[in-house]
Symmetry: C2
Subunit: 396 residues, 2 copies
């Protein structure tokens, strides 16, 4: 375990479990978050037009801004499973609610994994019935939950911060079908701060826009993406601004962890596009670059093939950029390896030095387009043979 995990703090009033029901292999595949009392709740879901059954039911259950529990399984996504799938998602809520002594509408269901397969309902029912004896609030319980929601993720992901007397804890999973135009994975946040569901919903949209909506692994948009925050209010009111700052920090870190742990990924790429004439222009160009298979493979191979950045900037047809205005910086501002695309002689940059820099497992890039003062930062990962390996043989 070379990876260093951030510290894990329990949040008063919330308990967790992550256990194996034999859906996946022998690792946890079933998780629950339960609150002692009703919570203000906010959520954002996939924009995919064919969402999974749990997303359909989850949207219904969160509509009144209240939730008390979340139940999740991994390995099977319960998507494209028709009316039976809807029933399965409802039953997951019913069984969980019955175990916890709450109403089914207080439970949000999530499933992640293969599309087009029915859930193993008997196993899920057994799992739901075992909830009361297995819930707990130790860091181990939380870590087990974080592991239970993983699919092809290679490590669990969480982050927490204190805001005044309150604590905010977020857990996430990512790995594949990740494209940055919406919330694109599963992530759950809980806090004991007291915040209204209206405020939470607005805050969540802003936070997701700065974090999960700025990452990309493969341009494919999952049918199951869900980000939820639950606030039980036990710690009383907090400074909303400070809370949102902490929320954003945790979400950005989780988003980066998801990009770093993208399927087959060896490198986290942080890309800033600056000098744009609008936020939208900066974002479109950033997405074009971070999603380009030719840029991603070049970075994988530590190949200083900056021409592919030129191509990726140029293929954003609605925002013309000329070569005269374009520069590409590899590394941080102080490291300063900048290619001026219009005047190679003035660049005085060593391709060998760029290649050496690209061998790092975290790569920072800035592309300046010389049109204005807007900038956007996005995160992605390289494209590797392991991505092909994982995805050519996923259901079989």
């Amino acid at each position: 375990m070379a990876k260093e995990y951030p510290p894990l703090k329990s949040v008063p009033g919330f308990s967790w479990l992550g256990i194996n029901l034999g859906i996946k292999d022998e690792t946890p595949d079933f998780g629950v978050i339960a609150s002692d009392c009703k919570c203000s709740a906010a959520g954002v879901f996939t924009r995919n037009n064919i969402p999974g059954a749990p997303v359909i039911i989850g949207r219904e259950h969160i509509q009144d801004g209240q939730l008390q529990a979340i139940v999740v399984n991994s390995k099977i996504a319960n998507v494209a499973t028709g009316q039976s799938g809807i029933e399965d998602a409802k039953n997951m809520c019913r069984w969980t609610a019955s175990s916890l002594g709450i109403a089914p509408e207080q439970v949000l269901p999530s499933s992640t994994g293969v599309i087009g397969k029915r859930l193993p309902v008997e196993k899920i029912q057994t799992g739901c019935e075992s909830i009361p004896g297995k819930l707990g609030s130790t860091p181990e319980h939380i870590e087990n939950f974080a592991r239970a929601i993983m699919t092809t993720d290679t490590n669990p992901k969480w982050g927490c911060e204190s805001i005044g007397n309150a604590t905010l804890l977020g857990v996430a999973k990512g790995a594949g079908m990740i494209e940055p135009d919406m919330a694109t994975m599963l992530s759950y946040f809980v806090t004991d701060a007291s915040l209204s569901c209206e405020l939470l919903q607005k805050m969540l949209r802003r936070v997701v826009n700065k974090s999960f909506n700025r990452i990309s692994i493969d341009t494919d948009t999952s049918t199951s993406d869900t980000v939820i925050i639950l606030a039980n209010g036990l710690a009383g009111e907090v400074d909303a601004e400070k809370f949102e700052e902490a929320f954003t920090r945790i979400a950005v870190n989780l988003a980066k962890e998801i990009a770093r742990d993208g399927e087959g990924s060896k490198k986290l790429i942080e890309l800033t596009v600056s000098g744009a004439e609008s936020q939208q222009m900066a974002l479109q160009i950033a997405k074009s670059i971070i999603n380009s298979p030719l840029v991603k493979t070049a970075i994988h191979g530590a190949d200083p093939n900056w021409g592919r950045f030129v191509m990726a900037v140029g293929k954003v047809f609605q925002y013309p950029v000329s070569l005269d205005e374009l520069s590409i910086r590899f590394g941080s501002e102080s490291q300063g390896m900048t290619v001026n695309a219009h005047n190679l002689d003035s660049s005085k940059v060593s391709l060998d030095a760029i290649s050496k820099y690209l061998q790092n497992n975290e790569v920072q890039l800035e592309v300046t387009v010389g049109k204005g003062s807007f900038a956007e930062t996005v995160w992605g990962c390289d494209l590797t043979k392991e991505y092909i390996e994982i995805n050519a043989f996923y259901t079989t």
Copy 2:
């Protein structure tokens, strides 16, 4: 040489060369098409906002609808090379024109390969000066030209047909940076039919739209894409409708050859999206599927993971499709392995049979969305470890 090539017929009045100037390895890297007389000419070029110098000069030279020669090199694309690159492209035309005794504006230059490097101008000049002694009109001369324009292509690509007394011959290269929203590669057509440049230009746009604009290898749009047709008129007038039919057939075949020979590709994918409410809807959904890395890797692994098709249909946000209306057919109509996404029980389809079918090196698919009567067919290829291998280490 297991591959079978279509027959190769020379076209009266056109001569060719393909030779090695030491730009690439020992294979041909410099090619010329020369006509005995001025030709009506039409062209379409990349929509990339940062086109290469040869595209900039080529657009100027074709503006009057006339050309007499085309000069091409592979390995270096002469893109993002500033004013020097523009001069290099102009010089390629001047030297070629001087060798052929024509005006420089009658020559269209093309370069394909790495972006951001200067052309080896001395080698190019030597090549241009050697043109007169090396031109010829045998099939071998034409094949050498077709090989000279290749980059990571594994085989040369051509096709020809007779229309009345006239002949139409097309040559193309593809391999990477291929995305179907515009002409995305190099392709040259020559004919001895007599056709006005206005008619040719309209016809070319229609043909490109049905052929090269319907293929995709990796969503990346080259800075060098060019399709040109030259008509020298020696065979007199032809039936324009029949000519366009033949033109379309050859172009579609070349487009399919480009998709089949995409970088690292093991399989040609032919995908029809039908039941759309408009042509645009059919095309958008078809592109979403054919470009999805998760669909491409599943087909590569012969993995019957049809849920990824559902995801790719659902992520076309502007055209909602519901599961009730969606079906996915693997194989031809008569082979009939259809998954009804809304009712798996009615599908009675064996996933093993789909997996076996997907092991073919040509795969036919139809996705029906149940909204109307419009359909579009596109071509693509699978995503493999070899794509990563080729593209992670291309400039070095």
